[in-house]
Structures are given as structure tokens and as C-alpha cells.
């Protein structure tokens, strides 16, 4: 249906449609590498611009689009509320930086002289890379925007298929092994998610999130908790929450640097976002599950960081810190208060930028030092002083050194934890502090060994780092630092996002006005003509 006028609604489908369309185009034009690159960059810039527009539009209230003119609860609704718009924008900026970085790096594997050289450089076969990368972007945007549980599943599958291809690019033995593990675990989680959807549909007769929020409180408590736990299990695997995190440090480090960076920044956050959305919108007031989540968050933090301390490969070390810091976000969600959710949202934004930046810089370290093993690296501070700074800043940010954004996010979480005041919340507060210290220990150890110690072996003479790889990494590091500068407005925005997600009412009214009164499954334009009151969601 053509919108009557161009409004904020026009922007909503763009972050999904533009990358998807561009993906088709780049696939068709795979012979023209330069055209491909231009299309990819333009598409992601456009999608990010649309997301920024949505951030402002959504501040006035959720912007809803009924796809295909079928309104909720029958049709699929795309909902851009503050939280979704914020996530879209941050992920858009990140995807763009990583794409530019990969352009600087992209020597097609066939052109590299030996397999080894290709692997050290982490070079990527460009022809497949661009379409897949754009599909990944579309899948992530779809997951953020959707207001329908089954469409969320579709978004997950889109990004899963794309990520499996990206992870096994080039098909080396190590990547095939890592890809197999990743794919099998991801598939198991998807099947669980689908089973949860089937059961929820059987129990309530709907899969529209807004209508679920209305109907779920009416069903039996036991059934509801079972459904909630099944969904959390599926999302927990995606978000790499302990004890479902074992697959992550195994599979991420083998991929090319830009791919690892995107995965670390985005894929787990999509899982966290889903947990946040379902916990606040569909299953509010679930104290028992919140207790479980608190315990899980504590275990994720502590065990994740202990894993990081044991590693001596930078990429694996960072993968473990990634797992560990997912715990902070779950902590915020599990507190089930407005301030806790706001802190979690702020932390997600901070963590996306920082973790991605770190992985990009490690890609540069690998390029310059020829390895990511801390036993073989050394003396890089003298060889590449800029690189040392680029690693040091996000590393401190990750550990939460003031005044960087990691510190602000952690302060928010700790304040809310102390305010909560239960013994479990106090345990989480202590766990957070210990985890931060251990993070500091792990990343500073990595920095010392890679940059400060004398090189244990001859550092291979590579060409100097291509400037086109350095500046996107530097841009992302700067973006992370600038989060501190805009922390006031950003935290305010996160607060308001949390307020809307927590009250639920705004969201439900926007997607599904009048609750069960309007259930014809047709858009407003259509319902004006005929008002027939059979409930479309009931099978």
C-alpha cells in the first residue's frame, strides 16, 4: 500500500529493505568489484541515515508500519520504538565502519600468493562477502524492528545463514570446523525458538508481541513460565549466556578479522535485545525468572572472565571477555526496573562499539605482527605507536576506567543493583566489580605482551598497515570515546527507551490500538470501510 504521505513511517522498512535489495544487486554484479563496493557502502549509509531519522521520529512515540496493509494481530508489524531505533543506529554505524575496514583489507583470496599469506592478512573473497554481509545487515535490522515473534525467528534465520557463510569464507580446515560447531549450535537454538513459537501459538492463538502482552497474563502461570523459559533458552544460546556460551570462543576467532568484529559486536547483542524485549514487553512481572537470570548473569560474568584470563591468544581472550560482559547486560535486564533496563540499554550501545573496535584493532595487530598469539607478539609499541593507542583506549573502556563509557554503564548498573538491595543483587554488584578488575588484568596483560615486551621472535616484515584499514578502526574507537561526550543525552534517551519498554502500554497501543477491540486484521484504511468483529488471531 502506498503511504498517503511521506512520513516517519516511510523510514521504518528501509533498514531492512535497502540492504536486502543491495545484496541482490551486488550478487548480480559480482564481476565488478568496484561497483559492488560502491553499492554496499551507499546501501549501508542509506540504512544508517534512515535509522538516525527513526531515532528522532521514535522519540515522539513508536512508529508502526503494517507490512502489506494487514494490521496486527494477523499481519506483521514493524515497530520502531526508541529502543529499536537506538539499536539500529549503533549497529548501522558499526556495520559501516567494519565494511570500510574490510574494503581496505579485501584482497581476493585467489590473488594472494599463498594460502598462508591470505590467512595472515585475513583476506576475504570479495564477490561472496558483500552480498552476504548486506544480508546479515538486513537480518539484524529485521530482528530489531519486528513486532512479531515469528518474524523475529525469520530475522534470526536470515542472520544465521549469512553468518554461517561469513564464518566459513574460504573453506579452510579450521574455518570448516569452527563453522560446523557454530552452525549446529545455532540451528539447535533456532529449532528451540520455533518450538517455543508453536507452543505459544497453541496457548494464546497469536504470535504478535503486542497481542501476546495482552493475552499471556490470562493463561495459566505454570504454562507461562514454561514458555518463558523455553524462549529464554533459545535467546540465551544466541546471546552466549553461561552455560550456553561454550560455542562462542570456539568459533569466532577463526573467522577473518572484520567478520569476527561484526559477530562480536552484533550477533550476541541481537540475542540480548530479544531477551530484553520479551522480558519487558511479553513477560513483565516474573520475579522467579528474574532471580534465575540474576544467577545466570553472575555466572556468565565470572566464568567468562576467568576463561579470558587463561587465554594467550588475543582473539580468544577477547571472545571470552565478550561472553563475560554479556553478563552485565543480563544483570541490568534481570533487575526488572526502569533504571536497570536503562543501564542495560546504555551498556549494550557501549559494548557494541567497544568490542567491535577491539576486534578490528586486533585484525591490524595480526596484520602488523603476523600472529595473534601473545607468545609470538611483542615490541609493537615501537613499530606501530598509533596501533598501541588504538588498542589501549577501547581496552580501558571495556574494563570500565573513568571517564569512558564503560565506566558510566557500570556505574548505572551498580547503582541500581545497590538500590535493589537483595543479597543476590549485592552478589551481582560484587561480581561486577571483580569482573571489571579481571577484565582490566586480562586486557592490560594482552597489551603489555603485544606492545611492550621485547619481541620474542622476528616480527615479519609486512607492508605497512593500509591506511584504509586504520582509519575505520580509528573512527570506531573515536565513536566509542565520543559516547562519553554525548553520555548525558544518550543516557537520557536510554532512560526514555526503558520507560516505554517497561510500561508496555505505549507499545501495545501503538501496534494494536484498543487491545482486543480491533481484531479484524486489516489496516486502518480498510477497517474504516467495514467494521466486522471476528477475531483473526484465533485459529
Amino acid at each position: 500500500m502506498i503511504p498517503a504521505a511521506w512520513g516517519p513511517e516511510t523510514l521504518v522498512p528501509l533498514p531492512v529493505l535497502v540492504p536486502l535489495f543491495a545484496a541482490g544487486l551486488t550478487l548480480a554484479l559480482h564481476r565488478y568489484a568496484n561497483v559492488q563496493r560502491t553499492i554496499s557502502v551507499v546501501a549501508l549509509v542509506a540504512a544508517t541515515a534512515a535509522s538516525v531519522g527513526l531515532v528522532f521520529a521514535a522519540d515522539g512515540g513508536p512508529v508502526v508500519v503494517d507490512v502489506g496493509g494487514w494490521a496486527a494481530p494477523v499481519g506483521i508489524a514493524l515497530v520502531a520504538d526508541r529502543l529499536a531505533a537506538l539499536m539500529l543506529t549503533v549497529s548501522g554505524v558499526m556495520l559501516l565502519c567494519v565494511l570500510l575496514y574490510s574494503l581496505g583489507q579485501g584482497v581476493p583470496e585467489s590473488e594472494a600468493e599463498t594460502v598462508d599469506e591470505a590467512r595472515v592478512g585475513g583476506a576475504i573473497p570479495v564477490a561472496i562477502f558483500h552480498p552476504t554481509y548486506l544480508v546479515l545487515a538486513a537480518g539484524v535490522s529485521n530482528a530489531f524492528l519486528t513486532g512479531d515473534l515469528f518474524n523475529l525467528y525469520v530475522g534470526f534465520e536470515i542472520l544465521l545463514a549469512a553468518s554461517a557463510v561469513l564464518l566459513t569464507l574460504g573453506g579452510t580446515a579450521e574455518r570448516v570446523r569452527a563453522g560446523s560447531v557454530y552452525l549446529i549450535v545455532a540451528l539447535a537454538s533456532s529449532v528451540l525458538f520455533l518450538a517455543a513459537i508453536a507452543l505459544i501459538y497453541a496457548a494464546t492463538g497469536t504470535i504478535n508481541m503486542a497481542q501476546l502482552a495482552v493475552r499471556l497474563p490470562e493463561i495459566d502461570d505454570t504454562v507461562r513460565v514454561a514458555l518463558q523459559l523455553l524462549l529464554l533458552l533459545a535467546f540465551g544460546i544466541k546471546a552466549a549466556v553461561f552455560p550456553l556460551s561454550f560455542w562462542l570462543p570456539d568459533s569466532y576467532p577463526t573467522a577473518p578479522a572484520p567478520v569476527t568484529a561484526v559477530f562480536a559486536g552484533l550477533l550476541t547483542k541481537v540475542g540480548v535485545y530479544s531477551i530484553l524485549r520479551t522480558q519487558t514487553l511479553i513477560f513483565p512481572d516474573s520475579p522467579v525468572v528474574d532471580q534465575i537470570l540474576l544467577v545466570v548473569a553472575l555466572a556468565t560474568m565470572v566464568i567468562g572472565i576467568l576463561g579470558a584470563v587463561a587465554q594467550n591468544d588475543v582473539k580468544r581472550l577477547l571472545s571470552f571477555t565478550l561472553v563475560s560482559h554479556i553478563g552485565f547486560m543480563i544483570f541490568g535486564v534481570a533487575l526488572a526496573s526502569e533504571a536497570g533496563t536503562a543501564a542495560a540499554i546504555f551498556y549494550v550501545v557501549h559494548h557494541i562499539s567497544v568490542q567491535t573496535a577491539l576486534f578490528l584493532v586486533v585484525g591490524l595487530v595480526e596484520w602488523r605482527g603476523g600472529s595473534t598469539s601473545l607468545d609470538r607478539l611483542g615490541g609493537l609499541a615501537k613499530l606501530a605507536p598509533l596501533l598501541a593507542v588504538l588498542f589501549f583506549v577501547p581496552a580501558l573502556n571495556l574494563a570500565g576506567i573513568p571517564p569512558l563509557s564503560g565506566f558510566l554503564g557500570k556505574v548505572g548498573l551498580l547503582t541500581e543493583g545497590v538500590r535493589d538491595g537483595t543479597p543476590l543483587a549485592w552478589a551481582l554488584v560484587i561480581g561486577s566489580v571483580v569482573t571489571s578488575l579481571l577484565t582490566l588484568y586480562a586486557v592490560v596483560k594482552a597489551w603489555n605482551k603485544a606492545f611492550w615486551q621485547t619481541a620474542p621472535a622476528e616480527v615479519p616484515e609486512h607492508a605497512p598497515m593500509p591506511r584504509s584499514m586504520v582509519w575505520p578502526a580509528a573512527a570506531l574507537v573515536t565513536f566509542g570515546v565520543s559516547l562519553t561526550v554525548v553520555a548525558g543525552p544518550l543516557y537520557g534517551y536510554a532512560d526514555r527507551s526503558a520507560a516505554t519498554t517497561m510500561d508496555g502500554y505505549t507499545y501495545i497501543e501503538a501496534v494494536y490500538p484498543g487491545g482486543s477491540d480491533r481484531g479484524t486484521g486489516q489496516s486502518v484504511d480498510v477497517t474504516d470501510a467495514q467494521t466486522d468483529g471476528s477475531d483473526g488471531g484465533d485459529g
Binding site: V115, F150, E157, T168, G171, A178, I184, L194, L199, Y201
Partner: protein, 164 residues
Amino acid sequence: MIVLENTPSAVLVLAVGVLCGAGVYLLLERPLTRVLLGFILLSNGVNLMLLVAGGRAGASPIVGNAGDEPMSDPLAQAMTLTAIVITLGLSAFILALAYRSWQLHGHDEVADDVEDRRVARQAALNAPAYEDADAAETGESLDEEAATVHDEVAGDDAGTEAGR
């Protein structure tokens, strides 16, 4: 308002159970082809569950076709169809992975992570030297086992490079 009979048929529920059980069993195997079979069975089980969730079958859900009879739930069918397509695509990808794995190693078993083994070996070195339970059974300690795996994978890599 017509209230539909929503109690699922026992045969279908049983079929879902059997498909999911067999699927999970196969999913836990090492070779990728078995994992693939497991994934297909499991997905079919869950798809069937989606259909069951839609309630009893009725007339075809086309307006004007059914008359007064209750119609089947089209939403469940739409979701199942989508899920089937997704399963097909991902199955194709697993097949490709299995084939590539067979090209590289001559089998399609998912190998252990080398780095995991190395960390385990370090931990074994640091641990106090009481008896190694693995060694008692096979005569081979974890260290030796890890070293073998390491050599195997390193050998695989060397093989690929020579192959190119």
C-alpha cells in the same frame, strides 16, 4: 462465535515426540551427515507441532469456499511453510560443509578445538600429579592425546597447503 475443537490428535503428538527424540539423538552425533539427518527430523517434528498448534483441520481457508464449515488456520500453515523453506536452505548449507570437510579430511566428523585441548593440557601440567583417570583406562594421558590431535590438525593444514 464458533468455538473450534482444539484438542490435538494423539497420533500427531506422538509423531512430534518421536521425530524430536530421534532428531536430538542424531544431532548429538559427530559426523555432519548424521547431524544433518537429525536436524531435518527435528525440524519436521517442530513443523508438525506448529500445524498441530493451529488446531483441527477444517475446510480450506479461502473466503467464499468454506460456506458455514469452520476453516483451517491459515496462519499456522503459512508459518510452517516458511519454516520448511528455511530448513531446506540451511540443510543445503550443512551438506556443503560436510562435503568440504570430506574433501579436506576424508571424513565429515566435527573435530575438537585445538586451543581447547592446549588449555586443557596446560591445566593438566599445573594440576597436582595424582593419577590420571584417562591414562588408567586407555594408557594414554590427556597430554599425549592433545599432542596427537594437535599434530593431526597441523598435518591437515599442511596437507591443504600442499594440495593447493
